[in-house]
């Protein structure tokens, strides 16, 4: 009797799970097919991610106002805004996609774009993107972030090159001139030593080394020194050379010889933001978005920080964010989404570039964090208005702007996160072990990365 009952229960369990598996598969198949096209003015509703959260009422109000104005202009389009903070986290991205909850227009960081394209998790918008009037003026290197071959899979919202973020207040305290930030790595070392000498708890220069962020910043520093992560065909690593060695040797010297990097290592994004916000960190590799994050979320003040060009750099890792389209979105949704993107994020004087409104609303204006158009007419107009309505000291970022004009933007390597995970080991080694052998670390990393690239090619 016992075994019969058990068999019935087991059968019921298996039936349930098989039914669940079966239905999941059918759903996936059905939903992968785009819905049939409708007429040009037929009503269309799109869901859009990254509405500013309620904790940021001023930016949220601007978003809502833009949605209302856009819907008035295009009466057939309804925008359903989805808020989240942060706008994207890896865990929810895959879960939302798997559960069919992904927005039609979803937010991405540059670092994830190529992985999403390679996985077929974004729609090809090439046939529709010509409707965006400012597309022809967009920097080709910025647009290339969202391209694979000739196909376009998304559009940028912000774009920046990597520079050196520094605490002007600490520079003054340490007897350094905040208006003349370091231009070479040896000047960075000297400045870091002086800041660390201010007393216990002061860190001259901070660097990541955990959670794949170490590999990310290794790439930034390597590009800045003129190095390459992979060979042009993307089939082999290329970082094990003089530039890669210089990156690790410099960190090792600063950490152990100069003792200017603090004792606490294995730092990740929020660690350095917290240190920068607390006013105890002198310098770090970063872009103006760091200053924004430190000001908004880590109790820093705009006026205390500056950003300058990455020392000695002729090329720089580009960073930023943008939007991509759900692969299940219909052509009508993609067209409507592109119109919204143009309205909200890509038109000078409008949406995110409505600096006059931002100034009136008491939001910071003047950070050079969105260089989408370079020196084309929209770019010039955006820069003029940014300066005209600036509320933060723009001269604190001038050396970064001047430097950025002369650096070549570089994209992340293929299989970026896997490669970054490998290079975390080298970064954490030089920062936590005085006897770390840089040559050996780079040789080990090269072998591992070559394996990763060989498998993916």
């Amino acid at each position: 009797m016992k075994s019969r009952n058990l068999s019935i229960l087991l059968a019921a369990g298996i039936t349930l799970t098989v039914a669940a598996c079966g239905s999941g598969g059918d759903d996936a198949k059905d939903s992968a097919k785009p819905a049939a096209s409708a007429g040009a003015d037929a009503p269309v509703t799109i869901t859009v991610g990254c509405q500013p959260p309620k904790s940021n009422p001023k930016e949220r109000a601007q978003w809502d106002a833009d949605v209302a104005a856009f819907q008035k202009l295009h009466s057939n389009i309804t925008i359903e805004s989805k808020d989240a903070f942060p706008c994207i986290v890896p865990e929810t991205f895959q879960a939302k996609l798997a559960g069919g909850e992904m927005e039609d227009l979803f937010y991405v960081y540059y670092t994830d774009v190529q992985r999403i394209i390679a996985a077929g998790q974004a729609a090809d918008i090439t046939p529709y993107v010509d409707t965006v009037t400012t597309l022809k003026d967009m920097r080709p290197d910025v647009l290339s972030v969202f391209k694979s071959g000739d196909k376009i899979y998304g559009l940028p919202r912000t774009n920046y090159s990597t520079g050196l973020v520094y605490n002007r207040k600490l520079f003054t305290q340490a007897g350094l001139d905040p208006d003349s930030p370091p231009k070479t790595w040896s000047e960075v070392r000297e400045a870091a030593k002086k800041i660390a000498a201010l007393g216990a708890g002061y860190v001259g220069y901070g660097e990541y080394s955990a959670g794949n962020t170490g590999g990310w910043h290794f790439t930034s520093a390597l590009y800045g020194r003129g190095g390459e992560m992979v060979t042009p065909d993307g089939k082999q690593s290329a970082f094990n050379g003089p530039e890669g060695k210089a990156v690790l040797e410099n960190l090792k010297e600063m950490r152990w010889t100069d003792n200017s990097m603090g004792t606490k290592q294995l730092l990740r994004w929020e660690d350095l933001m917290r240190m920068m916000g607390s006013g105890k960190l002198g310098m770090m590799i970063g872009a103006p978005d760091v200053v924004q994050a430190v000001n908004n979320d880590f109790k820093g003040k705009f006026e205390d920080y500056g950003v300058t060009a990455l020392p000695e750099a002729t090329q720089s890792l580009s960073g930023g964010d943008g939007y991509m389209f759900n692969p299940k979105a219909t052509p009508e949704k993609i067209k409507a989404g592109l119109m919204w993107l143009e309205y909200r994020f890509l038109t000078p004087g409008q949406g995110q570039f409505n600096y006059e409104r931002s100034k009136t609303d008491g939001l910071p204006v003047g950070l050079p964090s969105t260089d989408l158009y370079g020196s084309t007419p929209p770019g010039v107009k955006i820069n003029e208005q940014r300066t005209q309505f600036a509320t933060v000291p723009v001269d604190h970022f001038q050396s970064y702007v001047d430097g950025a004009a002369n650096v070549q933007f570089k994209l992340e390597p293929p299989k970026a996160q896997e490669i970054y995970a490998v290079l975390d080991t080298a970064m954490s080694a030089v920062l936590t072990r005085q006897d770390a052998n840089v040559d050996q670390l780079l040789a080990d990393a090269q072998k591992k990365v070559d394996n990763i690239l060989a498998k993916s090619s």
Partner: protein
């Protein structure tokens, strides 16, 4: 005559079954609820994970069957070996500390005459903290500069440690956090087991001249043997899946010194977007734990017999 007997015996059987069903109706109702929950939240994910480990999927189109490719990918990963070694080391160390310490604390608490309730609350308090909060608290304790632990070492003129930043101390540091977080539950369970031991046994042992250690060895441990065996199994199964500590404290570093199987699984699934690889690692871990549990139960049953 034979037909009538068979019919009547069938009727009696059906009647008995009906009575049994009616008598146990509530129990079956509860069982159904539990079965549905297990089916959807445990068995279904397990089956999906099993399937996923043999597939390549982007969660958009239909998954592609890739045979053993995912297993090949993860086993060739340079972090694969360190992940298993670290997981085994963590389990071993967590067992030594996390198994013995709560038992000793429970023994002490059981012997106390005063402040027993207060101390029980104190011991259980860390369990009430959300794990992420507890881990972040330790992040400050372990800070090589102003961190609590190094301040204490400094006060007593001992050399300070790098704690999480050294390949030699990072894993042990994680074990300390894990032990502290889970101390309360183990202690309370052991305490309950200790309190169920009849006092006469201790009295008899004392009359026979047994000291404290001999009383523990000959009375306490045999009387709590069953609970000790169950806790051992549960603890090994739980600690082999360690994730929060390396995820929040070290990010698997320094130099992969704290990367664990569960952390690597997370990296594959969420950082690399390779759910097949994550599924393959999960399946391997599940098989290892299932085999271990089966062998353990078999051995402990044989031992009991």
């Amino acid at each position: 005559m034979t037909t009538i007997t068979v019919r009547s015996s069938r009727r009696r059987g059906r009647e008995a079954m009906r009575r049994a069903v009616r008598r146990n109706l509530t129990a079956y109702g509860f069982l159904c609820g539990a079965l549905v929950c297990f089916a959807f939240f445990s068995w279904y994910p397990m089956i999906r994970e099993f399937l996923l480990s043999f597939q390549k999927t982007n969660f958009v189109g239909p998954p592609e069957w890739v045979g053993l490719d995912n297993f090949r990918t993860v086993t060739e990963d340079p972090a694969f070996g360190p992940a298993w070694i670290n997981t085994a080391m963590f389990t071993l160390l967590a067992l030594v500390a996390g198994y013995a310490v709560p038992f000793v604390i429970a023994l002490v608490l059981n012997e106390l005459r005063h402040a027993k309730a207060y101390l029980r609350v104190v011991v259980y308090l860390p369990v009430m903290l959300p794990p992420a909060v507890a881990v972040l608290l330790f992040k400050w304790f372990y800070d090589p500069g102003p961190g609590l632990f190094n301040q204490i070492l400094d006060v007593v003129h001992l050399p300070t440690l790098s704690w999480l930043d050294s390949t030699t101390t990072a894993l042990i540091s994680l074990v300390i956090v894990s032990t502290w977080m889970n101390l309360g539950t183990g202690t309370l369970i052991y305490l309950a087991a200790l309190q169920s031991i009849p006092g006469e046994l201790y009295e008899a042992a004392e009359l026979d001249g047994a000291g404290l250690l001999r009383r523990v060895w000959h009375v306490t441990i045999p009387q709590t043997r069953l609970i000790l065996l169950v806790m051992l199994l549960l603890q090994i199964v739980a600690t082999m899946q360690v994730f929060i500590e390396p995820y929040l404290l070290t990010g698997g570093g320094p130099e992969n010194a704290t990367v664990t199987v569960a952390y690597l699984m997370y990296q594959y699934a969420f950082s690399f977007g390779n759910f097949g690889g994550g599924g393959a690692l999960g399946l391997m871990l599940m098989i290892v734990l299932m085999v271990f549990s089966a062998v353990y139960l078999r051995v402990s049953r044989d031992d009991k017999n």
